[in-house]
């Protein structure tokens, strides 16, 4: 079934259509939330909340707009709300920069952990563009920033990750 038809059925409140949206977008939504939030359980909560907000707001979705962009915008806003509500001490750990401290490389055993340690905005740009393969324009739409910001953030993220990767012998990262 094409996306326009699925959206139409979503508007009519058909839960089967939401299931199709989940089958199509659930995995990338969950991956993105997991990378932005750094916690799998919270990522599931964020995706659930995203679907609830989609259900409530699908009437406002413009048919000319790109649905995936709309969906990821909701997810990103949900993740940002969750990060804001986190207790400061916990947020500090999640935002810890493993690239800065000399012995901190031990903390990042995998690329996923290294990505999780990037500053949140840089992380979101990197995940959407480099991992989920949105175009620069789409990533900019989702995050509500300019294409230049996405480019610069992805460039800086890749530089940090290359430096991290350079310090890990090939085959050592999990």
């Amino acid at each position: 079934m094409d996306e326009a038809r699925i959206i139409e059925r979503c508007r009519a409140g058909d839960l089967g259509a939401y299931r199709q949206v989940y089958d199509r977008y659930g995995p990338p939504l969950l991956r993105t939330a997991a990378r932005i939030l750094g916690r799998p359980q919270e990522a599931e909560d964020a995706v659930q909340e995203t679907f609830l907000k989609l259900f409530r707001g699908i009437g406002a979705f413009r048919s000319g707009a790109r649905f995936s962009t709309y969906l990821f915008q909701i997810l990103h806003n949900t993740c940002m709300d969750m990060l804001r509500k986190r207790k400061p001490a916990v947020a500090d750990v999640a935002e810890m920069d493993v690239f800065g401290a000399p012995s901190s490389h031990e903390l990042a055993h995998s690329l996923a952990q290294a990505v999780d340690s990037l500053p949140v905005q840089m992380r979101a740009c990197f995940v959407l563009f480099a991992v989920e393969q949105f175009s620069l324009e789409e990533a900019a739409d989702i995050l509500g920033v300019s294409v230049g910001t996405i480019k610069a953030s992805v460039h800086r993220a890749r530089k940090k990750l290359r430096a991290w990767l350079g310090s890990c012998p090939a085959g050592e990262i999990s």
């Binding site: 409140g13 839960l15 939401y18 299931r19 989940y22 659930g26 995995p27 969950l30 991956r31 997991a34 990378r35 799998p40 990522a43 599931e44 909560d45 995706v47 659930q48 909340e49 679907f51 609830l52 259900f55 409530r56 969750m82 509500k85 690329l111 996923a112 990505v115 480099a130 991992v131 989920e132 480019k151 460039h155 890749r158 530089k159 990750l161 290359r162 990767l165 350079g166 090939a170 990262i173």
Partner: protein, 211 residues
């Protein structure tokens, strides 16, 4: 890293051809290019499907609940709409009834002394108001008991109950506003009672739910 050509290539200020020529003579940039290619391979591993057993079931349950809540709210709005059209009848019917009553009353007064009907209405209203007040006080107690339970809920459930209670409170406020100008209107009293019962049920659900 002393050579900035790889950065310039990344920023787009150096073309692919220029960089390809440069990299042949620059071991630093060759190493960066190799790391970049390795990074791309590692990124691909981040695209593996995540493990989320039971997530759709959770989402489906919350959507079903939301759908039912929306349907209930819609039904309530519709019944309120019917209530509004009833208001026209509420004007016309009493007017006709009043004319008929005047005729009947004329005959009745002629035969019997006048009955104190106004006092009876005031008594009934006073009784309703006392009971309403007690009911509202009891609900306030329930709301205080439910507050810590709601605070302990997950964000999802808390927002569902919070929205539901806010919608009911708005309904209660509207009824109260209408009753300020027309305290004897039985229809509005019925709506207020229905809203209070909804609130009691929602709070009972909060207290009965697992946090």
């Amino acid at each position: 890293m002393s050579c900035d050509k790889f950065d310039k290539f990344g920023e787009g200020t150096l073309t692919g051809q220029e960089f390809a020529r440069h990299v042949q003579d620059c071991p630093e940039c060759r190493e960066q290019a190799a790391l970049d290619a390795r990074l791309d391979r590692e990124i691909a591993a981040l695209r593996t499907p995540p493990d989320a057993v039971g997530l759709w079931k959770r989402i489906e349950t919350s959507l079903r609940y939301e759908k039912e809540a929306a349907a209930a709210a819609e039904a309530k709005r519709a019944s309120r709409g019917r209530g509004l059209s009833l208001r026209r009848w509420a004007v016309l019917v009493p007017a006709g009834a009043a004319l008929l009553a005047l005729a009947v009353l004329g005959i009745h007064m002629f035969r019997n002394p006048p009955a104190p009907s106004g006092i009876l209405t005031s008594d009934a209203l006073a009784r309703v108001e006392i009971e309403e007040k007690e009911y509202i006080e009891a609900i306030d107690v329930l709301a205080r008991q439910a507050r810590p339970k709601m605070a302990a809920m997950d964000v999802q459930m808390m927002s569902l109950y919070r929205d539901k209670l806010a919608a009911i409170d708005a309904q209660i406020d509207k009824c109260r506003e209408a009753l300020d100008s027309n305290p004897g209107n039985a229809h509005i009293r019925q709506y207020l009672l229905a809203a209070l019962q909804d609130k009691r049920q929602a709070l009972a659900d909060v207290l009965g739910s697992e946090s």
